[in-house]
């Protein structure tokens, strides 16, 4: 069993196109255990019911942004150590610094191609 068969990921993005694209990319890496949520609160609820290893989240979302979701995850005892990959259109120094403080595992600037996503995930969890 390869890592990719066991890895559970939730994709969080308010745009269904992005969720589709990321899920499609993950599928092409052989990662099939994938859930998705359209915002932070939905993601937290789904993770509570279906624990995951890695959260792949968009930054800019209505209500709760990606870093706020990261903060919520790190504050929850059950989700404190979950992996967190931020996808952001605006990868500026301040944002990345903030992410680092909160314990972000890695980030991918938008737009990205599937190999970049794969590399970013492998940098967190190891070879897929």
């Amino acid at each position: 069993m390869a890592l990719r068969d066991q890895l559970r990921i939730i994709v969080v993005d308010d745009m269904s196109t992005s969720r589709g694209l990321i899920t499609q990319a993950l599928d092409s890496f052989g990662i099939r255990q994938v859930e998705s949520a359209r915002d932070g609160p939905e993601a937290l609820a789904k993770i509570a019911a279906w624990p995951v290893h890695l959260v792949v989240s968009d930054m800019n979302m209505p209500g709760m942004n990606g870093l706020q979701l990261l903060h919520a995850l790190r504050s929850g005892p059950a989700t404190r150590t979950v992996g967190f990959l931020l996808i952001t259109g605006k990868a500026d120094r301040q944002l990345i610094e903030q992410g680092k403080q909160l314990g972000m595992n890695n980030f991918v600037p938008k737009p990205f191609q599937p190999p970049q996503l794969r590399a970013a995930i492998e940098a967190i969890v190891g070879r897929l």
């Binding site: 624990p51 990868a91 070879r127």
Partner: protein
């Protein structure tokens, strides 16, 4: 299988439409002063999301513009720029261009760079040079990925062992397994050959020996844990011959992961977990391998913040819906046929059969209504397009115009919305161009300088009404009359009522603007609008008050799938005439008919002479009659506001009929709009009355010598 990327791409453009709509709403709210801090965020996010998706599909033109737009919006978001006046107008224009870029990207077209670049430059000027959108800071970001110790039972060191996995297998043999002589023990041995195997027999349900009545019945089941480098397929292979003779569950069993997956029990999310104390004979607890909770309700008992999730929707191919609409139409027809045969069979009205049929009828109506609802969409998207038309039209001719909309959530059939866009655009342009006076003229009359166009949608007695009203000068009837006379459209000494004068606007080619403006153009007049509305089964009317404005009112059926029709008989055939075309019905007396030449007759109705058409003759079912006295005529409203009298033999019924298009099988059939199936199973043609009159030769009297009746419908072989 369809290409998943193509599907995502298609859904991206649908999502873009939603985002553009949200952006329009946001800008509108800011314009009206009803927005709050979140409004500009919504607008920003819409542009940002479009950019993000466009980037993934390599739509560079779209990405480029969205990026500038986003950067400018960010200035507002961060409070360095206020969105009002010129800036807001620029944002509106920007949103229009963004919409164009989305559309062109979807259709694979190039967007006119000359239109984009001035707006793009203007957007750039809103942003201080320091953080102007060049390629953002390219200096290396100081970030090291944080790795996770994600030991899922893998040994990274040895490639060979890396794929050893533990599986949970549950095996419930059925009686048939034993009856067919299979020995479970052999299966277990085969499993053992794959790797390290633990076997646990669940014999709780094995009865005491003396109570066993059927020794061949299955009483026990087994649970295994198997650590193997082989995959699931190899495990399944062991059970190859008994696959249909047992219940088999094979699931991957992860080693306790280093990464702290929350204890499901602690979260109360595993109601089916074994209660403590019964675990003695159970295999070790598994990391829940259940499939993703696609249909789970996360709200139930979960501590997560209540998610204010939008209403769940599914996107469905329109073709599927149309198939459903069609099938429901079949049910309606079937139901009517059944009713007729039940009646014909003489079954008494109070019988259970009739009562059941009555319920069936009610259900059928409900289904029909629900299915129509699926095709219905709010007119909002249409109204937003009109907001853009007003912006562009008013900018072109330099009038200040405000569009007020009402009833945006009124729902209409999707096709009606699509086909309404062109006529409505034309009406809005007309209102801005011809309806409203110039700012100076308005001020001179004590009106507000800014003209208003009011766009309103609402339901009225099973139809939808859309009104386009302006608060301009109203129709100058003297001018209209003079123009109509000058163009030879009416007789110079015609005495027309105000309403009749207003209706002259619908005459082909009529235009009241003294000069053809760049906006309204030449050749496309209200007659085209009227045709388009009538093609949708609608009616358009006009009211106007001097100095106060003009209002056009369009009344449309809620759906294009059914039609209110009058069932008539002529020359032994049954024909359905759309009710909305019929102004009046009457019986002809001898004094009503006048001859106009050897082959033509007219009818005199309330001091007006109308051309008389024999439906039977026009459709080629019979030769013209010698005498039409006592015949029934339908007065059919014409495009030019005049009417024509159409002779039929009898009126049978007035009812809703399900429209069955002929276009796919026969192409365009002259004089015929479509067909339908009546309650008795008979096929009837639905008349296109306007086309009938337009093509008619008006021969209502047998010429001598008699000629053959003309064949109809033209080479389609259709007869009702």
């Amino acid at each position: 299988m369809t290409d998943p990327m193509a599907e995502i791409r298609a859904s991206f453009f649908i999502e873009c439409d939603e985002l553009l709509e949200a952006m329009q709403d946001g800008l509108q709210a800011i314009d009206e002063g009803s927005g709050d801090g979140e409004t500009v965020n919504t607008v920003f996010r819409a542009v940002h999301s479009i950019k993000g998706g466009a980037g993934a599909f390599g739509l560079d033109a779209l990405v480029g513009f969205a990026h500038r737009f986003e950067t400018a919006l960010d200035e507002v978001r961060s409070g360095r720029l206020t969105a009002d006046g010129e800036v807001l107008r620029l944002f509106f224009t920007g949103s229009d261009i963004l919409a164009d870029l989305v559309r062109d990207s979807r259709d694979g077209l190039e967007t006119d760079e000359a239109r984009i670049s001035p707006v793009r430059d203007a957007l750039d000027r809103l942003v201080p040079a320091a953080d102007a959108p060049g390629e953002a800071d390219t200096d290396a970001l100081d970030f090291q990925p944080l790795t996770l110790a994600l030991d899922l039972g893998l040994d990274d060191g040895a490639e060979q062992q890396a794929d050893t996995a533990t599986w949970s297998i549950r095996f419930h043999p059925t009686r048939a397994l034993f009856e067919s002589g299979n020995e479970p023990l052999f299966l277990f041995r085969a499993l053992r050959d794959l790797g390290a195997l633990t076997v646990l027999c669940h014999d709780d349900e094995v009865p005491p020996l003396d109570a066993i009545e059927d020794p061949e019945a299955p009483h026990a089941w087994w649970a295994f844990e198997l650590s193997t480098t082989e995959g699931e397929a190899a495990i399944r292979e062991c059970f190859d011959f008994v696959e249909d003779l047992c219940q088999l569950e094979i699931r991957p069993l992860s080693e306790a992961p280093v990464i702290a997956l929350p204890d499901p029990e602690a979260l109360g999310a595993a109601p089916d977990a074994a209660p403590p104390g019964t675990a003695g004979r159970e295999p070790p607890p598994e990391a829940d391998p259940a499939p993703p909770p696609a249909t789970a309700t996360p709200e139930a008992g979960n501590p997560g913040p209540a998610a204010a999730t939008p209403r769940a929707t599914v996107r469905v191919d329109l073709e599927r819906i149309d198939r459903l609409v069609n099938l429901v139409g079949e049910i309606v027809i079937n139901q009517a046929m059944l009713s007729q045969s039940v009646e014909a069979a003489g079954i008494p009205p109070n019988s259970p059969v009739r009562a059941g049929l009555e319920e069936f009828l009610q259900l059928t109506r409900d289904i029909q209504e629900s299915v129509m609802m699926i095709r219905a969409q709010p007119v909002k998207s249409l109204f937003q397009r009109m907001a853009r038309i007003v912006r562009e039209a008013s900018a072109t001719i330099g009038k200040e115009v405000r569009l007020r909309t009402e009833g945006e959530n009124t729902e209409v059939d999707k096709t009606v919305i699509e086909r309404l866009a062109d006529p409505l655009t034309h009406m809005i342009r007309n209102a801005v161009d011809h309806g409203l006076e110039s700012g100076e003229a308005r001020e001179a009359q004590g009106k507000s300088r800014v003209g208003t166009v009011h766009l309103r949608a609402f339901h009225r007695s099973g139809r939808i009404v859309i009104e386009v009203a302006d608060d301009g000068g109203g129709i100058d009837r003297e001018k209209v009359l003079a123009k109509a006379i000058a163009r030879g459209l009416i007789e110079p000494d015609s005495q027309l009522s105000d309403q009749e004068i207003d209706n002259l606007l619908f005459l082909p080619g009529f235009s009241t603007a003294d000069e053809v403006s760049s906006l309204s153009g030449r050749g496309v007049g209200m007659d085209v609008v009227r045709n388009a509305i009538q093609a949708l089964g609608g009616r358009i009317s006009i009211t106007s008050a001097r100095g106060e404005g003009t209002s056009f009112s369009i009344s449309l059926p809620l759906t294009l799938a059914v039609l209110d029709g009058m069932v008539v008989r002529v020359a032994g055939e049954t024909i359905v005439v759309p009710l909305n075309a019929i102004l009046e019905t009457l019986a002809l007396g001898p004094q009503d008919i006048r001859s106009l030449g050897p082959t033509t007759q007219v009818v005199r109705i309330r001091e007006r002479f109308l051309p008389l058409f024999d439906l039977g003759a026009e459709l080629g079912y019979r030769a013209p009659l010698d005498d039409y006295t006592g015949q029934i005529v339908l007065l059919i409203g014409q495009e030019d506001g005049a009417s024509a009298a159409v002779v039929v033999d009898a009126i049978e019924d007035q009812r809703q009929v399900v429209i069955k298009g002929l276009h796919d099988s026969y192409g365009r059939v002259p004089r015929i709009a479509a067909a339908t199936i009546l309650g008795d199973g008979q096929i009837a043609l639905i008349l296109d009355p306007v086309d009938l009159v337009a093509r008619a030769d008006g021969r209502t009297r047998q010429p001598k010598p008699a000629t053959d009746p003309k064949p109809l419908p033209e080479n389609t072989g259709l007869t009702a």
